[in-house]
C-alpha cells in the first residue's frame, strides 16, 4: 500500500465519470493474546490492507471496499462501482463532500512504533496483569491483550490528501475470586508510555475480592455511583445518539432536542477528534475536514448533532468534521471532569449502589430512551458513604434522558475506556446518578 495507489484509484474513478470520490487506504497489523484461567489460550495475528471507496454520480452514491489490491481487481472494482452507482436512485439529500486543500495540525501522541515490535514483551504484559490480579485475591483471570499499528492514506476528488499513522494497545482482564465474585478492568492507550496492565489486573483482583459472598439485591430506586468502565458503556450510546444518522433513522433519544436541556447542568460532553493520546483521534475526517472539538452537550443543553458536509448543508449548519465514508460518526465521548474526589461522591450516598461493570444494554424505544442494562462483576450496596455488602441479580431499568438529568456528581479523575461493548473510546470520570430504577426477577 502506498499513497500513489490511492491517488490512482481516485484519478481512475474520475476518468470513469464519478463526480465526487473519496478513497481511504488502510494498511494494518493487529495482534491479540487471549488468556483464560491464568493461561494463554490463543495468540492471533492479522495483516491486511484495503481501500474504501465512495463515489457519487448525479447525486447517486455508491461504496465498496477493495480488499484485493491487484491491478486487475482494482480496475474491475472501480468500473463495477461506477456502473452500480449509475443504476441507483438519486439521493436528493446528498450535497457533496468538502473541498480542500486543508492545513492539518498533527494530533499529539497517536503513534508509538514500539507497539508494532512488542513480540515477547506482550506475553510479559499479560503475565504481569494476571499476577497482579492473583496477588489481590483473585483465583483466576481471563481476558485479552490487543495491539495494532495502522497507516491511513486519504485522497478525495476535491483537493484533499492526508496520511496518518496510529497505534493502539488494549488490555481487558476479568478476575474471579469465586463463582459469583468477579471484577473487570480495562486499560488502553496509543502508547506504551502510559499503559499499565498491572494496574488493571490489580484493580480487577481487588474488586473480585470485595465482591465475595454476594446476596440478592432488592428492587427500588437507588443513587448509583458508576465506575468509569460501566459509565463508558452508557456514554458510548449517548454519543452515538448525537449522530444525525441516528437521529433521522430513529436510533436516538435526542430527536427534537437540539438546544434543549437533556442532562443535568453538570454534564458537558465533548466529541474531540483531536484529543491527544486518544485511540480514535485523527487529524481529519473521511472527507479530509480537519477534526475539531465539538461540545455536544454543554452544561446539560444539547448544542449540536454530529454532521458531515452533506448533512450539515441539509440542516443549514457547518460540518462538525465527523464524516465517515457514508454517515457521520463520533470520534469519542469525553465527559468533562468534575470537582469531587471519588470518596466525596461516595459520601453523597445515603443508600445506593456502586457499579463496576455493565453489559447487555438494550432499548425498548430508542426515541424515548427507555432501556435496561445489567450490572455484572462487582455490585455493592453503599450506605452512609460506605460499601456495606456485595450484591447480585439486579438490573437497571430506566430512561437514558432521565438518568442524564439525574446526574448529580462527577469526579475529577478521568479514564480512557474501550471495552467489549464500548466501541468508541470514552473518557469519563466516576459519576453519581440519583434515583436510578433497579429491578430484578421476583
Amino acid at each position: 500500500m502506498d499513497f500513489d495507489l490511492v491517488e490512482k484509484i481516485v484519478k481512475r474513478s474520475k476518468e470513469l465519470g464519478a463526480d465526487d470520490v473519496v478513497a481511504i487506504g488502510e494498511e494494518f497489523r493487529k495482534w491479540q493474546i487471549k488468556f483464560v484461567n491464568n493461561r494463554i489460550a490463543t495468540g492471533m495475528s492479522s495483516y491486511g490492507n484495503e481501500v474504501s471507496l465512495f463515489v457519487s454520480k448525479d447525486k447517486r452514491i455508491g461504496v465498496t471496499t477493495i480488499k484485493n489490491l491487484s491491478k486487475r481487481n482494482i480496475e474491475e472494482s472501480i468500473s463495477k462501482l461506477l456502473r452500480f452507482t449509475r443504476k441507483m436512485q438519486p439521493n436528493p439529500e446528498y450535497y457533496g463532500i468538502a473541498s480542500g486543500p486543508f492545513r492539518y495540525k498533527v494530533v499529539e501522541g497517536i503513534y508509538d512504533g514500539r507497539i508494532g515490535k512488542l513480540e515477547e514483551r506482550a506475553v510479559d504484559f499479560v503475565e504481569s496483569g494476571i499476577n497482579a490480579a492473583l496477588q489481590e485475591g483473585a483465583t483466576r483471570a481471563s481476558g485479552v491483550l490487543r495491539y495494532n499499528i495502522k497507516s491511513e492514506f486519504l485522497v478525495t476528488s476535491n483537493n484533499v490528501t492526508a496520511t496518518e499513522r496510529s497505534s493502539g494497545i488494549y488490555f481487558s482482564i476479568r478476575a474471579l475470586a469465586d463463582k459469583d465474585a468477579s471484577g473487570h478492568k480495562v486499560c488502553c492507550s496509543t502508547s506504551l508510555s502510559d499503559f499499565s496492565p498491572e494496574k488493571a489486573g490489580s484493580e480487577a483482583g481487588r474488586i473480585a475480592k470485595m465482591a465475595l459472598n454476594p446476596v440478592m439485591g432488592d428492587a427500588g430506586r437507588y443513587d448509583v455511583i458508576f465506575d468509569p468502565y460501566p459509565f463508558a458503556n452508557l456514554l458510548n450510546i449517548v454519543m452515538d445518539s448525537a449522530s444525525i444518522f441516528s437521529v433521522e433513522a430513529g436510533f436516538s433519544f435526542f430527536t427534537g432536542k437540539l438546544n434543549k436541556r437533556v442532562a443535568s447542568n453538570l454534564v458537558t460532553l465533548v466529541d474531540d477528534g483531536r484529543m491527544p493520546r486518544c485511540l480514535s483521534s485523527s487529524k481529519c475526517d473521511a472527507e479530509g475536514v480537519p477534526t475539531r472539538r465539538n461540545v455536544v452537550i454543554e452544561k446539560g443543553v444539547l448544542k449540536t448533532y454530529l454532521h458531515n458536509t452533506s448533512t450539515a448543508k441539509k440542516y443549514g449548519v457547518k460540518t462538525t468534521a465527523n464524516a465517515g465514508l457514508l454517515a457521520p460518526k463520533p470520534w469519542n465521548a469525553i465527559l468533562e471532569k468534575g470537582k469531587h474526589k471519588e470518596e466525596e461522591l461516595f459520601k453523597e450516598v445515603k443508600k445506593g449502589l456502586y457499579i463496576t461493570n455493565l453489559w447487555y444494554t438494550r432499548f425498548q424505544n430508542y426515541e424515548r430512551g427507555d432501556f435496561s442494562t445489567i450490572p455484572r462483576d462487582g455490585i455493592f450496596l453503599v450506605e452512609k458513604g460506605e460499601i456495606k455488602k456485595s450484591l447480585k441479580g439486579i438490573r437497571l431499568s430506566d430512561n437514558m434522558l432521565r438518568m442524564l438529568q439525574n446526574l448529580a456528581g462527577i469526579s475529577r479523575k478521568q479514564e480512557q475506556i474501550l471495552g467489549w461493548e464500548v466501541e468508541i473510546p470514552v473518557i469519563t470520570p466516576h459519576v453519581l446518578v440519583k434515583a436510578v430504577q433497579v429491578t430484578k426477577p421476583e
Partner: protein
C-alpha cells in the same frame, strides 16, 4: 473460490507442519454481495463487497495460534506462520496445553442452490423492494416519522483443509433484511425492529412479502399505542409466541450450553454459564420440552453441513424430554470434557478464530394448537413480539418487554396491552412451561460472542408456549 486460494490454503497447512506445528488448518474464504439501505424514503447507502482472505490455525508445542490475512501471497503467509511458531514457543511458560478431540477425516463439497441468483438481480430491482415498503406505509396513512430499512445478499465460498486430511468446500448464499420503524400517535411513539435472514437466493426475498409484512407490524404497533391498556401485574399466565420463545431458547439454553463458556474461555467477553458438566442428566423442564440446536435445517440462517473445524454438523438435543442432555462443543472443549465435537465451531469470517457457536436453536413442537393453548388461560397475556431484552452473563436473570401484546380473559384475546414486562430466571421460565404448541416459527438474529466480537447469523424459534403463573412487572 478458485484454485489459487485452495492451493494457498494447502500450502499454508503444509508449511506450518513443516515448521513444527502438531496440527494446522486453513480456511480460505471468498465472499461477494450487495447491500442497500433506505432511510425515510431516501436511498441512504448502496454498495457491494468482494472479500478474499485466509485464516490459519495451528497448534505448536501445545500452544494455539491463529493468523489471518487478505494479502494472498506466500511471503505474507510464511511470515505470519513463522511468527506464530516463534510466539507459540516463547509463550509456552504460561500457555494452556491445547488438545483436540479426535474427528473423522472428511472430504466433501456442498452448495446451497439459489433458484434466483442474487447476483443476477439488477440492483434497481433490489432497491425497489425497499421502496415498495415505503409506498405501502405511505398509503396506510399511519404516522411513521422514522423508517429505516436495509437489505443485503452475499455468497460465501469456503475451502477448509487441515493436517489430518479433511477437505471441505462449501458455497452458501445468504439474504438478510433489517428494519426499525417508529410509529407515533398523539405525541407518543413506539418502535419495532424486524430482522429476517435465510440461506438461498433472491426468491427468498420475494417470498418475504416485505411491504405487507412491515405494514402488518406497523399496524399492530399503532393499535397497541392507540388502544393498549396497562398490562396486568403480578402472577398470571403468559402465552409466549414463537418470537419470544425463540429469543429465550437462544439466550437461556443455547448460550449457557456452550462448552467454552462453561470452561471459562469467554469469561471476559460474553461471560460464563450457570451450567456445569455435572448438570447433564438433571431435569430442568417438564417431559414434553425438547430444545435443539440444528445447523442442518434447510434454508436456515445458521445453515452448514460441516463446521469451521471440518466436523460434520448434526442436530444436538440440548434439552431432551425436559432433561439437560448435551452441550455445544468444538474439538478443544470436547477434548477437555472427554467427549467428541458435535460440530459447533464457527468463525464470523476468515479473519476470526472458530469458537463454539449456536446455529439454529429452537424448541420442538408439541401437539396443541395456539387456540387450544389460549382457551385454557383464564387471565393472562399473549406476548407476540418484543423489543427490549437482556440476560445476565451467567444466563439466569432475563427480561423480555412485550411490543405487540394482548390481554387474555377467559380463554379469549380481548384487547392490546402495553409493554408487559417478563423479568424472570432461566429456571423459573423452564419450570413454568405448561403447554407447547404444534407449529414452530423461526426468527433470524445476529449472535455476538468472542473478542474481537464475532457476529454470526442464527435462527431462533419454537412454537407458542404457555408459561403458567409467571410474574409480570
Amino acid at each position: 473460490m478458485g484454485v489459487f486460494m485452495e492451493e494457498l490454503a494447502d500450502f499454508a497447512v503444509n508449511y506450518a507442519v513443516g515448521r513444527g506445528a502438531d496440527y494446522a488448518e486453513a480456511r480460505a474464504e471468498r465472499s461477494e454481495g450487495t447491500s442497500f439501505s433506505v432511510k425515510n424514503g431516501v436511498l441512504h447507502a448502496a454498495g457491494f463487497e468482494r472479500e478474499e482472505g485466509i485464516g490459519i490455525r495451528l497448534i505448536v508445542g501445545g500452544a494455539m495460534r491463529f493468523v489471518s490475512t487478505n494479502e494472498l501471497n506466500k511471503k505474507v503467509i510464511t511470515e505470519l506462520i513463522d511468527r506464530a511458531v516463534r510466539s507459540g514457543r516463547s509463550s509456552a511458560r504460561i500457555a494452556s496445553k491445547i488438545n483436540f478431540s479426535k474427528a473423522p477425516r472428511e472430504k466433501a463439497e456442498y452448495e446451497v442452490k439459489q433458484r434466483v441468483r442474487s447476483s443476477d438481480v439488477d440492483s434497481k430491482g433490489k432497491i425497489e423492494e425497499l421502496f415498495e415498503i415505503e409506498g405501502e406505509l405511505k398509503e396506510s396513512k399511519l404516522s411513521i416519522p422514522a423508517r429505516f430499512f436495509s437489505l443485503s445478499d452475499e455468497v460465501l465460498c469456503k475451502y477448509f483443509v487441515n493436517s489430518e486430511g479433511t477437505r471441505i468446500k462449501s458455497t452458501i448464499p445468504y439474504v438478510g433484511f433489517y428494519s426499525l420503524i417508529t410509529v407515533s400517535e398523539k405525541g407518543q411513539t413506539a418502535q419495532r425492529s424486524i430482522q429476517l435472514g435465510e440461506t438461498g437466493g433472491w426468491e427468498i426475498v420475494k417470498g418475504w412479502s416485505l411491504p405487507s409484512r412491515v405494514l402488518e407490524e406497523a399496524k399492530a404497533v399503532y393499535n397497541n399505542l392507540k388502544n393498549g391498556k396497562p398490562a396486568p401485574k403480578g402472577k398470571v399466565d403468559v402465552v409466549a409466541a414463537p418470537e419470544v420463545v425463540g429469543i429465550a431458547m437462544h439466550e437461556s439454553v443455547g448460550h449457557p450450553y456452550e462448552a467454552d463458556r462453561i470452561l471459562g474461555r469467554e469469561a471476559a467477553q460474553a461471560g460464563e454459564s450457570f451450567m456445569t458438566p455435572e448438570m447433564i442428566g438433571k431435569r430442568i423442564a417438564k417431559e414434553f420440552v425438547d430444545v435443539v440446536d440444528d445447523p442442518t435445517v434447510p434454508g436456515s440462517a445458521g445453515y452448514f453441513l460441516f463446521d469451521d473445524e471440518g466436523v460434520r454438523a448434526r442436530r444436538k438435543y440440548l434439552i431432551k424430554n425436559g432433561v439437560i442432555n448435551e452441550l455445544l462443543h468444538n474439538r478443544e472443549t470436547a477434548f477437555s470434557l472427554n467427549t467428541e465435537s458435535n460440530g459447533s465451531a464457527r468463525a464470523m469470517d476468515y479473519a476470526c478464530e472458530p469458537i463454539v457457536r449456536m446455529s439454529n436453536t429452537f424448541l420442538l413442537p408439541g401437539e396443541l394448537s395456539e387456540e387450544e393453548i389460549i382457551e385454557e388461560v383464564k387471565l393472562g397475556v399473549y406476548m407476540k413480539s418484543f423489543m427490549e431484552w437482556n440476560i445476565d452473563d451467567k444466563r439466569v436473570n432475563e427480561r423480555y418487554v412485550g411490543c405487540e401484546a394482548y390481554l387474555i380473559e377467559k380463554g379469549e384475546i380481548t384487547h392490546p396491552v402495553k409493554k408487559p414486562v417478563l423479568e424472570t430466571t432461566t429456571f423459573d421460565f423452564f419450570s413454568s412451561i405448561d403447554a407447547v404448541g404444534d407449529e414452530v416459527g423461526y426468527y433470524a438474529g445476529t449472535c455476538g460472542k468472542g473478542e474481537p466480537m464475532q457476529g454470526v447469523p442464527v435462527w431462533m424459534g419454537g412454537p407458542v408456549v404457555k408459561l403458567k403463573g409467571v410474574r409480570l412487572g
